[in-house]
Each structure stands twice: as structure tokens, then as C-alpha cells.
Symmetry: C2
Subunit: 153 residues, 2 copies
DNA sequence: CTTACTGCAAACCATTTGCACGATC
DNA sequence: GATCGTGCAAATGGTTTGCAGTAAG
């Protein structure tokens, strides 16, 4: 038995693109060749590329595409849930000096980071194959969403 | 029964400072008033401040301290494990277009982000109180350390 | 007394913004 | 044809670097 209409069912390449086109429509975005190209290039890799990296790749097919478009489009994709920001940002680095185990919840609206404790999360075990391949220095459960203060608005 | 000599035992303010001073010594760092002030200011808050935010605070006590010092010192603290970078960086934003559930391991040496799967991590449950307070849009287990390629060097 | 740290200024890099042209719907 | 998206250029913001003076060990 298979679930139908699963919004995240985009395993096969052709389905991905039509899923993406549909998402654009639903969100009132125009389907431009640049957008499609950027989305395809992003989904095509597991290297978690930066805008610049993607720009270099896409340029081979669309030599006139600008870095700004790639940058802006990626942010747009993130807004409609077709992409995720996994690292970095132009924003300032932020630090934590607290020693004890704790997890972070980050509000995507106001960028506030809230600490929380949950013993179950403290106890999670890193799988053996990861442990063998890498030296793990830090592990944490990371949550993202809308915080209480932003919800009230 | 209490564990002695626990390196992360810095719950009480005075112990924190002496722990920090000790860490500086062990790592061959000089104990300057600026460093101590920055460390204290960082540990004193749970707001995950940026260098600039901390700078503004510390300025009240040490009006001549520069933002650069705060910036550099925070990075130094991170190197000796007295602080952690929890968000941002001057580095470029990086994106992920993959839809399925997966976790990230990030190498702190080469900044490579490696995807991995672990069913146990897919199944972790967000605690009820968090769920009540926030709207959780994404949850992921985040690992940090040294990757296989960097270990070989 | 030596070495490392600090403060200042300039340089750097990624991102953002404003605007006019061009493409999509 | 109206609106949204793109490309270009300039501006911005955070971080990094080089250097000379200063303080810690």
C-alpha cells in the first residue's frame, strides 16, 4: 500500500520538476527557466552548495544567469519549502558559553534561539558507522519553527 | 556521591572563572582582563549573543575594549572549548534541496556537511511542552566533529 | 625580556537593495 | 498588458588582516 499525493514524493527526477512547478503555481510564483534550473541543480547534488557554487554550475547551461538571481531564488525556494538553509548566512555569528547539555530551538521569524532540556535527547546514541567514520565532538537536537512570541502576532 | 574533577563543572560563578583561567593556562593562552570579561559576559547570558551584542555589554565595564578583540577572543574561546558557535558565520549560506528525512554531520575542519540516515533519529519525539509553546517546523539531529578525510592528515 | 594580545584602520567577502529592462501569465 | 523576475551596479554589514604599541608570563 502506498500513500497517494504525498507532497514530498519527489524521488524520481521528472516528478521533482513537476512537483516544483506545482509549488510555484500554488504560491503564486512565476515559473521561469532560471528558477527551474536552480532548483534542478540544487536537488541534483548532496553537497549542500552555496549560492556561488550553484551559480558556477548553472552558468554552464545558462551563461547569462547572475549570482544575485541564484541568491534570491534560493531564498524564495526556502520560503516555499523547496529548499532549506543548512548552514551559514550573512548574519552575525552567535555564541553559547553554557556548558551543560541542552538543545536549541530557533525561531525562523525573529532568529531567537531558545535553550531547552530534554533528557531523552541527551541520551541519544550516535550510530556505530558514523562513530567509526568520523570523530564526533558535539551532538545536539536542533529544532526550527515559530516561537511563542512570534505566534501571538 | 559526586564526581570530582569534572571538567565541565562550572555551575557556580567563581568556579567558572577559575575553570576558565585554568583552561587558558593549559592551552598556553595569556589571561588578560579582556578575555576574562568576555568569557564572563558570555556565560552570564542565555541569549546566544553575537560579538557585537557582547561588545556593547562589556563596554560598560571596559570602555576601551574593541569589537575586534571580542570577535577574536570568542573564536579563541571556541577553539579551547570554552564557547560554541551556535549560529551564523561570515561564511556563505548553504542550501539543501533533498526532501527526505536525513541528518547532518558537519566537519569543523573542512566545513563539509555529510548527510546520514538513522531511523532512530527520524523517530525522536519533540517534548510536549515545546510543542505547546512553539510551532515546530523542522527537527534534526546535528553532529559536529572531524570527518574521515580530515582525520587522515 | 620575550611573546602574545589589543586596538585601530583598511581590506575582504557574501548578501542586500534600487532600478530599468525583459519575461511570464 | 500588468506584474513579477532578472541582471547589473552600488551599498551594506560582518569578519579578517596587518601593523604598531602594550601587557602578561
Amino acid at each position: 500500500m502506498r500513500k497517494q499525493n504525498e507532497t514530498t514524493n519527489r524521488a524520481e527526477p521528472e516528478k521533482r520538476t513537476s512537483w516544483f512547478v506545482e509549488q510555484c503555481r500554488v504560491n503564486g510564483l512565476k515559473v521561469t527557466p532560471q528558477r527551474v534550473a536552480i532548483y534542478e541543480a540544487l536537488v541534483d547534488t548532496d553537497e549542500h552548495p552555496s549560492a556561488e557554487t550553484l551559480h558556477r554550475k548553472i552558468r554552464k547551461l545558462y551563461p547569462r544567469i547572475s549570482l544575485d538571481t541564484v541568491n534570491r531564488t534560493l531564498l524564495t525556494l526556502a520560503e516555499i519549502g523547496a529548499a532549506f538553509v543548512v548552514e551559514g548566512s550573512g548574519d552575525a555569528r552567535r555564541f553559547d558559553g553554557r556548558a551543560g547539555k541542552h538543545q536549541h530551538f530557533k525561531c525562523v521569524k525573529c532568529n531567537r534561539i531558545v535553550d531547552f532540556h530534554h533528557k531523552v535527547f541527551d541520551r541519544i546514541k550516535v550510530p556505530a558507522d558514523i562513530r567509526k567514520r568520523f570523530r564526533v565532538l558535539r551532538k545536539t537536537v536542533y529544532l526550527e519553527g515559530i516561537c511563542d512570541m512570534c505566534r501571538k502576532r
